[in-house]
Amino acid sequence: MRELLELLKHDARRPAKELASMLNISEYEVEEKMAKLEKDKIILSYNTLINWDKTGENTVTSIIEVNLTPQREVGFDAIAERIYRFDEVRTVYLMSGSFDLLVIIEGKSMQDVANFVATRLATIEGVTQTRSHFLLKPYKKDGIIIDDKEKDRRLVMSI
């Protein structure tokens, strides 16, 4: 299972036939295993990593440090849920250190994001402080170098 997940992590579009060869199992078994992983919510989704800068589309990403007052019984979970239910919120992590939640928000403009933080996020009960950082340029995401200039420089044949 670990091997199948590793393969899919690098390329979710790999045909079952190829996966079967590499794992030394049948195509049917590959499909069965994948269906089970999806059902068990081990595989949550098959995403595409997109370099939006090249599309000319404007998107703004903001990374927000959020401080909270934890609540009796539920700690941070209830407030975290009130935050992660918003469509604008892409990622939420509970953190150790000088702040509690790391929240990543995507919007169409800085105005858009600032507005969301000021009116929706900062006003949630239990949120005591927010610090927003706007993302300027991505260099590497999920293990992929965005503009990788290294290429195959080997001779076409060698003994």
Binding site: L7, D11, R14, E18, S21, M22, L23, N24, E150, D152, R154, L155, V156, M157, S158, I159
Partner: protein, 389 residues
């Protein structure tokens, strides 16, 4: 007019040129060629290794080193052999850092061979083996490994080729071009053979880190009583994707290493300091990157092994290096015809098996040190080619 060719040493003339020149020239001109003919990793050297070299240059490490190599590199090499193979080499007397295994191979031959001495060389094998023996003044004695043994060499194969002049045996496993490995039992049999005929064994273990499945590489020098008899050659090119750095080493008894060092000091002086610094980093911190690359090769290996069989080509499962050696006799073509036709018709470059010795005829070498996408596409083309013959 002077005929310069007449002035070239007959020994040099007797060494044949590379067996892939013709294919190389054609393939280089092709735009959409998929090459399974490359004998080096498709990975770039792991960044931490490259970065250590850059840092070394910034710090001004640009001088000669000791002839035998930086002591800290020799120490790391010995430490690794102790840790992995329980072998005790002394960094001061038993190690020589060389410019790739190629140099180590050359000076090992020059150190032990005198004119007329014979050295047994199992084939198919890396093309330099015979050439180096010849250039050293020795007589290479090719010993064909049998396809039905999956190209593993046995004492029974070797025995008929022994003569009173046989001085050494050269083994290269995991093997280029076949991907064959030798088990502990296979190697023990060879060790007994070496003792019986009192041979020096040169063991080229450059692909030693690249073994797959449950099979772990067995270091020949680690077998009982083999350490002093063996000249163990290894390097960083294949496992650490460092081919262009040209850095390798030889391990043996102090006498042989001292003699090899003599040739090395007069001809090479020392291996480049930049590559030596990088090699230290590779041994100290590079293993995890190396393991990751090996696991990548393993996936490709299984893909190509399965794919070639489905394309109708018989092959044994390679357990080491990054080559697979399918039998192409079912196509009715010779190795060279197969390689040439598939290059012209399907734009797939691979190396004819006979480039690695006569007994490689009927086979071709495919390297799977290339991306999964390229391998998949190559397999489609090979299947198309074989089914339309």
């Amino acid at each position: 007019m002077t005929n310069w060719n007449d002035r070239i040493s007959p020994i040099v003339k007797s060494v044949p040129p590379s067996g892939i020149r013709k294919f190389f020239d054609i393939a280089s001109e092709m735009e959409d060629v998929i090459s399974l003919g490359v004998g080096e990793p498709d990975f770039v050297t792991p960044w931490s290794i490259r970065e250590s070299c850059v840092y070394g240059l910034e710090q001004g490490y640009t001088s000669y080193t000791a002839n035998r190599g930086l002591l800290e590199l020799r120490e790391e090499i010995c430490f690794m052999h102790k840790r992995r193979f329980e072998l005790d080499y002394n960094p001061k007397t038993d190690v020589l850092v060389t410019v790739g295994v190629s140099e180590a191979l050359d000076i090992a031959m020059r150190t032990i061979l005198t004119p007329g001495d014979e050295i047994l060389i199992p084939e198919p094998c890396y093309v330099s083996y015979k050439a180096c023996a010849t250039l050293a003044g020795g007589i290479p004695v090719p010993v064909p490994a049998k396809a039905e043994n999956d190209f593993r060499i046995t004492p029974a194969d070797l025995e008929p080729h022994v003569s009173p002049k046989t001085k050494a045996l050269l083994i290269g496993y995991p093997n280029n071009p076949t991907g064959a490995i030798l088990s502990k039992e296979d190697l023990e049999a060879i060790a007994r053979f070496a003792v019986k005929h009192d041979l020096i064994v040169i063991s080229d273990e450059i692909y030693g880190d690249l073994t797959y499945g449950d099979t772990k590489h067995v270091c020949f020098a680690g077998l009982p009583e083999m350490k002093d008899r063996t000249i163990l050659l290894n390097g960083f090119s294949k496992a650490y994707a460092m081919t262009g750095w040209r850095i390798g080493y030889a391990l043996s008894n102090p006498d042989i290493i001292a003699a090899m060092t003599k040739i090395h000091q007069y001809t090479m002086l020392c291996a480049p300091i930049t590559a030596q610094i990088a090699a230290v980093e590779a041994l100290r911190h590079g293993e995890k990157y190396m393991r990751k690359m090996v696991s990548e090769y393993d996936k490709r290996r299984r893909l190509i092994y399965d794919g070639l069989q489905k394309a109708g080509l018989k092959c044994f499962e390679p357990k080491g290096a990054f080559y697979i050696f399918p039998d192409i006799t079912s196509t009715g073509l010779s190795s060279e015809e197969f390689a040439e036709k598939i290059l012209m018709q399907e734009h797939v470059a691979l190396v004819p098996g006979n480039a690695f010795g006569e007994c490689g005829e009927g086979f071709v070498r495919c390297s799977y040190a290339t991306s999964i996408e390229q391998i998949s596409e190559a397999l489609l083309r090979i299947e198309h080619f074989v089914s339309h013959l």
